[in-house]
């Protein structure tokens, strides 16, 4: 009896032993990620990857001071003279304000734009390189690849402006630029010359402009032909190709109108504004919290940074504007901002701006403006003023629509020559305050940094008031991590 029972048990056990599992069961996949192959499987899936890039524009990188492109905009402001820190208490962007981080190759801030734009670029590369056989609507596919190309140009353009010495208009720019990265390689790419990088950027944009023809985007976070043209105008302006810059800017803004003064005063936080050519929106459940653009620049969000260091505007720059100018009306010489009802623990500092407003005091989200039609007017006006092919009147006429929109008392400028250029640049400084242009403008125009005589504090800026034009200090160092990981990168910047 017993033996028979054993036999049954043994037979069952052996069955269990041999068949309890098989290895087919061992394929496991993540549930919060998708496969890289999914992305290039169909054109609609390509759209997912493109959207990823759009959203990456506001994704936090390595610290809360690295909130996507918005954080880089803030750095470009902090390193200029128009964006004034009013308190010493909070460390975010203060080292940049003091011109320290970008010259410290091991600083994560020094690496931040380099890394950020490289990530944008590699995501764009996949859409450009690995989709030859992807099935789907050929028009949509073309529009997606066109946008990827704009991103690729955008990434290289921003990087070369920071990490290489400036593009000298009219010269052959053989100085080391940045690596041109068109596909992934574990061994890296060497630095191309600045000239080569600009050639690449222009070629990408030209292709993109063609590919984006006829694209109707879902919303302003996507890139259409106008945005591609607008970026092209920026590039041309930086290269000092004035005539092309002017004409491209005009073409770019076609179809966009300037916002009303009421809208201008409503907080710069709605990307569906008719003047915004390109921007992002951040939905409720995807906030980057203290890494949001609005966590530093808005007047109303309750962060230590904003409470103790609300951002003011350079008095020398803004005060000459008449009070009728809507942009000046957003700046409160007392810092009270009565209509905002700021909580009592918000420091009141003179000349702070309420141009930007976050959703509310406890939500730092705001839509971030990457490109506005106003910039296109300013590019056109500046380019015409600097070009020998246009008269001063041409330039003044170009400025008029914008200036008049912002200040209804404004009349056609009678300035000429350098005065006119100066006026246009002042318009640009006030109009684009906070939008990430000033450091790049100073660098492209080979101007010095001059904060003297304004409302900058010695202790906050650590007495960094002046930086001579054209020195090595205007070039960001190549991040140490790149020197360590890219054997082909070559020499560090001087």
């Amino acid at each position: 009896m017993k033996i028979k029972f054993y036999h049954i048990v043994m037979t069952l056990s052996l069955v269990v032993l041999l068949f309890t599992s098989c290895n087919d069961d061992l394929d496991t996949f993540p549930t919060d990620q998708i496969s890289d192959q999914t992305v290039t499987e169909s054109v609609s899936n390509m759209m997912i990857a493109l959207n990823g890039i759009h959203r990456f524009m506001y994704r936090r990188l390595d610290s809360q001071g690295q909130g996507g492109y918005g954080g880089i905009m803030l750095i470009n402001e902090a390193m200029g003279e128009d964006y004034v820190f009013t308190g010493n208490s909070n460390r975010w962007y203060r080292s940049e304000y003091r011109w320290i981080s970008h010259r410290n190759a091991t600083s994560s801030v020094n690496r931040y734009p380099y890394k950020f734009f490289s990530i944008i670029n590699v995501n764009a590369n996949v859409l450009i390189n690995e989709t030859q056989d992807t099935p789907g609507d050929p028009d949509l596919k073309r529009h997606i690849i066109g946008q990827a190309k704009v991103y690729r140009a955008f990434a290289h353009f921003n990087m070369v402006q920071l990490y290489a010495s400036r593009y000298i208009p009219g010269a052959f720019n053989s100085q080391p630029g940045i690596p041109i990265v068109e596909s992934f390689s574990t061994s890296g790419y060497p630095r191309a010359t600045v000239e080569e990088v600009y050639d690449f950027i222009n070629a990408e944009l030209d292709e993109a402009i063609e590919m984006l023809d006829g694209y109707n985007r879902a919303n302003n976070s996507h890139i259409n032909k106008s945005v591609a043209l607008g970026l092209k105008a920026r590039v041309l302006l930086t290269q000092g190709r004035w005539n092309e810059a002017a004409s491209t800017a005009i073409e770019a803004r076609s179809g966009f109108s300037l916002m009303s003064n009421d809208e201008y005063k409503s907080g710069f936080n709605d990307y569906s504004n008719e003047e915004w050519m390109w921007g992002c929106t951040i939905v409720d459940d995807q906030t980057a919290f203290f890494a949001n653009f609005g966590a530093y620049i808005s007047r109303n969000f309750n962060s230590t940074n904003i409470r103790t260091n609300p951002k003011a505007v350079n008095v020398l720059m803004y005060q000459p504007f008449p009070d009728s100018d809507v942009r000046k009306q957003l700046i409160d010489p007392t810092g009270e901002h009565v209509d905002l009802n700021l909580p009592s623990n918000f420091n009141r500092r003179p000349h702070t701006s309420q141009k930007f407003l976050a959703v509310n005091t406890s939500d730092s989200r705001m839509d971030v403006p990457y490109m506005r039609a106003a910039e296109m007017y300013l590019i056109e006006a500046e380019a015409k003023a600097r070009s020998t092919s246009f008269s001063d009147n041409d330039a003044a006429q170009a400025l008029l629509p914008l200036a008049q929109n912002r200040d209804m008392n404004y009349v056609l400028s009678s300035n000429t020559g350098n005065d006119l250029v100066e006026e246009i640049m002042n318009q640009r400084r006030l109009e684009l305050w906070g939008e990430g242009f000033r450091f790049l403008d100073l660098k492209r125009l080979n101007l010095p940094l001059d904060r003297t005589g304004a409302n900058h504090s010695a202790s906050v800026s650590s007495n960094v008031f002046e930086k001579a034009a054209g020195t090595n200090e205007w070039t960001w160092l190549i991040p140490q991590d790149e020197l360590n990981s890219n054997p082909l990168i070559g020499e560090q910047n001087p």
Partner: protein, 1038 residues
């Protein structure tokens, strides 16, 4: 002391009763150990005959013997005693035989006689730690056995397990923690286990011991075995333990309130005359510094106006008196916590079954206010054998843990609300509470002090208050842990047995986070999060064993199959906009800020086998093999084969040593084999896109790329040779040499930053760990009433990377991984010193042709940190580390103490660097060493000039901040008293023990405040330092 040990042995003792036929008189008696405790199951035999019996549960026996007979009393692990049977009552006292190697130890998939081991195995028994007031079982490991290097425990009650490295560092980038196996289920974390339920902790170190765990065994395996009932024993035990908890490591020495302001003044002044553009005259600079110093620090604790705190002479205004109060944040953060532990358990053993059951309660308050752990645990473990051919058992346990964390975990290193960080780094000029201009407390409408949200310098977290945030916020885990084990063993065909083990561990972690609406990240709306993590581990194995004795050969063979499935499911929600006060549940918040969820699975399918042979109990041989298929690798690369062979030779049993009086025991063993490391990534072989922000349209960005050069296991090839010995009846020990070589190391190879891919996985590189282990026990004194045992262990590690991809080094933080270097070799700027002329920090220059370089004392130096030369600066790996345990017994008193030590290696003291800042981080505390700074030309010092503008250069990460990592710490001292049996009998208990115990009583290291043991990499972070615990306990059984 020895009771538990003996109890374990009893289980293994098999004696056979024999009927006595000889006609003689009856002799009765009791057999006890040296403590007077009765020994159950001891053998009593009439010498020279086959007449024998065994003692019952009370140690009593009766035997038929003639008056001229000699009775032989023996018991496993005790010395045999012979007594003349002339009297009709013969009692015997058996003494422990320290060199008995008949003990049975837990090994992979079974147990084995210690003598027969061919691998490196250490066992830690409950008696070694049952009086210690720690909370996480992993704390028992430190100092206990050779080969274990531990990072510091944290003071946070309920924190995760203490980190362990066994015999060096098998991996560079992948998981290096050993595999924990709790009652047969791998991968379990220990922080919910009641340590009073633990019977033994077994550390498996070499391939012979670990290879049966295959792809997860490279870092060693630690087996936790919980208690079972004891045959012939019946006892109810109450254990109570109460103590208090204090900070175990002192804080760094920092300058006081009166010294602070002038130092900041000097840093501003110096920047104006040395670094500013344009440079100012010294008079202008002095005046500007006086004017600006308040603006930099933003708070005035003195009774003088803001612009007169420091004079233009750089000295504190002689009229300045401190009127502010509560300037030391640690006072408001730290407290003396209470620790209470209460356990009851019952054991019983019958012929066909045994039972262990327990209930435990523990509450520990950390010394940082608002941090605590409270745990209820219960366990029932029973085994039964209803038929002679069938055995089974259930081991069920559950625990419920509630805890609140101070924001001082490793992830909070730089968090503003980290109270440890605030207590360490806040300048001594900022009050915790809001004060009026006279230094008096401002009070709320209800008369309470108001927490300060003053403006402070940037180094002191303006507008925030770590004390208030720690008090009002919440970050707590509620963990429910349920585990069940069962098995069935069928014996058949005489030599075969078949066992199925099934285990399921289920853990639910419900994390509550809450940020208050008054101050901090949650202000002004208030916000709350819930993260619910469900983790289950299911494990089943089927083992077929064949055991056969053929003449003098014992053979045991095992084949089996095992399947493991781990599932991790997470739901995480976060909302802001609090509605009602005092409610941190999500419904009480308005807006969703995050809502995510995901699930991960890890599966392993395995086949395993083992063969053990021994001949004449002298020659031992074992071999094992395991084939693993893991879901962590691609279908083409997921199979891994691991094997081991081991052999042992008990030389002392050879004839030529059998009569040797010096050598009591001598054994040589050696093993080799392979194990694997399946890496930290669930899906490492796949190219993936993150589903990140989408703004209402599906979006994804590249997360990882498929490993471009293939991807599979790390394989560890291990060799081990050891001599075990016992000498002079007093000394025993083991000397062991190990050599472990890891091949196909998985690296996260950093791709060029410009590629936009942070890194990719690749199996590259080889590395070895070699070293010696010494384990030595000495019975210094052994008298009837006094015994003194010393156990010490020491381990050396030599770690070296022998192959890198294409020979290219990889720089990772402060380390550079390169051929010929250890994996923890510091790679940093080479610090030269301070320029006596101007106080500049100087580094040995890299590019000596650069314009910033000049010659000083024959060295080419620069103050430009970007042109500093990077060099190897030593390693964080110690030369030797280990532990020392002392055990003194005098009459019924026992005194134990345990030391842990580490000699050699370096640590990068980032805290010290941050405390030696040059003034850019105004508001941050300064270390006392800042008083040695350079102040005027000619000063010879190694502390550079204070200068607001020179922070990146002067305090760059360099060899300047490396310090010796050697330390010695007093881990535990326990004084115990056992009531003598004469008394316990009277009060009707079988055991009554009272004890005092102190945990982490002192740390001796190079610099006060520095915990050099914090991480294996030789880096430090603002984490909750280890606690000292002082406790009183009582253990009563009846």
């Amino acid at each position: 002391m020895s009771k538990n040990k003996l109890s374990l042995l009893i289980v293994m003792l098999i004696t056979s009763c024999q009927c006595l036929l000889a006609q003689t008189r009856q002799v009765n008696g009791i057999v006890t150990d040296t403590n007077g405790d009765p020994l159950a199951g001891a053998t009593v035999q009439v010498e020279g005959t086959s007449t024998g019996t065994a003692t019952n549960a009370d140690g009593a026996f009766s035997i038929q013997a003639e008056p001229s007979d000699i009775l032989v009393f023996s018991f496993v692990g005790m010395k045999t005693v012979k007594v003349n049977a002339s009297s009709s009552v013969v009692n015997a006292v058996l003494e422990l035989d320290s060199y008995a190697f008949e003990e049975v130890v837990v090994v992979a998939y079974g147990t084995q006689r210690e003598e027969a081991l061919t691998g490196a195995v250490n066992t830690i028994k409950a008696e070694e730690f049952s009086s210690r007031p720690f909370t996480n079982v992993s704390n028992a490991l430190e100092g206990s056995s050779p080969g274990l290097q531990m990072s510091s425990a944290t003071g946070q009650p309920g924190a995760s397990d203490q980190s362990v490295r066994i015999r060096g560092f098998s991996s560079v980038t992948q998981n290096s923690e050993p595999l924990y196996v709790v009652d047969g289920i791998p991968g379990v974390s220990l922080n919910t286990i009641n340590m009073m339920d633990v019977e033994t902790i077994t550390v498996l170190k070499d391939a012979s011991a670990t290879a049966l765990y295959g792809s997860r065994a490279t870092n060693g395996v630690i087996l936790i075995t919980t208690k079972t009932g004891k045959k012939g024993k019946k006892s109810f035990t109450v254990n109570a333990n109460t103590g208090f908890v204090q900070r175990g490591i002192q804080e760094y020495e920092r300058v006081g309130v009166n010294e602070y302001y002038p130092i900041q003044w000097e840093s501003i002044r110096n920047s104006l005359i040395y670094s500013a553009n344009p440079i100012q005259t010294i008079e202008e600079a002095n005046q500007n510094a006086t004017n600006q110093v308040f603006g930099t620090l933003e708070y005035n604790p003195f009774n003088v106006p803001n612009n007169q705190i420091v004079g233009t002479d750089g000295l504190l205004n002689p009229n300045a008196e401190v009127i502010a109060r509560d300037l030391d944040w640690r006072d408001a953060i730290e407290r003396t916590g209470l620790r209470q532990q209460f356990d009851i358990s019952y054991v019983e053993g019958f012929d066909q079954s045994d039972l262990y059951t327990s209930f435990g309660y523990l509450k520990e308050e950390g010394y940082v206010s608002n941090s605590f752990l409270e745990r209820f645990s219960a366990r029932t473990n029973m085994n039964f054998s209803p038929k002679s051919w069938f055995k089974s058992g259930f081991n069920l346990s559950g625990s419920l843990t509630d805890s609140n964390f101070a924001s001082a975990q490793s992830s909070n290193n730089n968090s503003i609300n980290n109270p440890i960080r605030a207590g360490r780094f806040f300048g001594p000029i900022y009050p915790v509470y809001k004060l009026d201009e006279n230094g008096n407390y401002q009070l709320s409408s209800t008369g309470e002090r108001i927490f300060s949200d003053d403006n402070r310098g940037p180094g002191a977290s303006s507008g925030r208050n770590a004390v208030a945030e720690n008090l009002w916020n919440k970050d707590g885990d509620r963990i429910m842990n349920i585990s069940g084990r069962t098995y069935g063993t069928i014996s058949f065909l005489k030599d075969f047995s078949f066992t199925t083990n099934v285990g399921l561990d289920y853990r639910n972690i419900n994390n509550t986070s809450y940020d208050n609406p008054l101050i901090g990240d949650g202000a002004p709306g208030g916000r709350a999060g819930r993260t619910i993590t469900n983790s289950s581990r299911f494990n089943i194995n089927n083992l077929l064993t064949y055991e056969k004795e053929i003449k003098e050969i014992n053979l045991t063979a095992l084949v089996g199959h095992e399947y493991y499935h781990r599932n991790l499911t997470v739901v995480d929600g976060f909302k802001n906009g609090q509605v009602a006060d005092d409610n941190n549940n999500l419904s009480n918040f308005v807006n969703i800020s995050r809502l995510i969820g995901y699930e991960d699975n890890h599966k392993i399918n395995s086949y395993l086998s083992r063969l053990n042979l021994d001949y004449q109990d002298k020659y031992f041989f074992s071999t094992s093999a395991r084939l693993d298929y893991s879901s962590k690798f691609s279908p083409q690369e997921r199979d891994g084969f691991f094997w081991s062979i081991g052999s042992g030779w008990v030389i002392s049993k050879e004839d030529f040593l059998s009569d040797n009086n010096t050598i009591d025991f001598l054994k040589l063993r050696a093993s080799m084999g392979t194990t694997g490391n399946d890496g930290s990534e669930f899906y490492g072989w796949q190219g993936l896109y993150d589903l990140n922000f989408n703004a209402d349209e599906p979006g994804a960005t590249i997360s990882t790329i498929p490993p471009p050069f293939g991807y599979t296991w790390e394989t560890n090839f291990q060799k081990d040779i050891a001599i075990e010995f016992a000498l002079l009846n007093r000394i025993n020990g083991t000397i062991e040499y190990y050599n472990r070589k890891t091949e196909d190391l998985i690296f996260e190879v950093p791709a060029p930053v410009s590629s936009g891919i942070p890194e990719y996985l690749q199996n590259i590189g080889d590395m070895y760990n070699r070293g010696f282990e010494l384990d030595l026990g000495v019975e210094v004194m052994k008298k009837a009433n006094l015994s003194w045992n010393v156990n010490m262990n020491a381990t050396t590690v030599k770690n070296e990377i022998t192959r890198m991809p294409d020979g290219n080094p990889i720089i990772n933080g402060t380390k550079r991984w390169a051929e010929g270097q250890s994996r923890y070799e510091f790679w940093m700027r080479s610090w030269y010193g301070v320029n006596p002329d101007n106080g500049d920090a100087l580094y040995n220059a890299d590019d000596v042709t650069s314009s910033d370089v000049f010659e000083l004392n024959g060295e080419m130096v620069t103050t430009n940190q970007n042109n500093a030369r990077f060099e190897y600066q030593g390693t964080s790996i110690p030369d030797v580390y280990g532990g020392l345990r002392n055990n003194v017994n005098y009459k019924n008193f026992s005194l134990d103490f345990l030391l842990a030590y580490s000699i050699g290696g370096k640590v990068f003291d980032r805290h010290y660097r941050d405390l030696m800042h040059t003034g850019n981080s105004g508001g941050r505390a300064w270390h006392k060493d800042i008083l040695n700074r350079w102040q005027e030309p000619g000063d010879i010092t190694d502390v550079p000039r204070l200068d607001v503008l020179q922070e990146p250069s002067f305090t760059a990460t360099s060899s300047r901040f490396l310090v010796d990592a050697s330390y010695m710490s007093i881990r535990n001292v326990t004084l115990g008293y056992d009531l003598p049996s004469s008394l316990t009998d009277k009060i009707g208990v079988s055991n009554f023990r009272g004890f005092m115990s102190g945990e982490n009583l002192g740390l001796f290291s190079e610099r006060q405040g520095l915990d050099p043991q914090q991480g294996f990499a030789g880096t430090v972070a603002n984490i909750y330092p280890v606690a000292s615990v002082y406790s009183l306990g009582l253990n009563v059984s009846f």
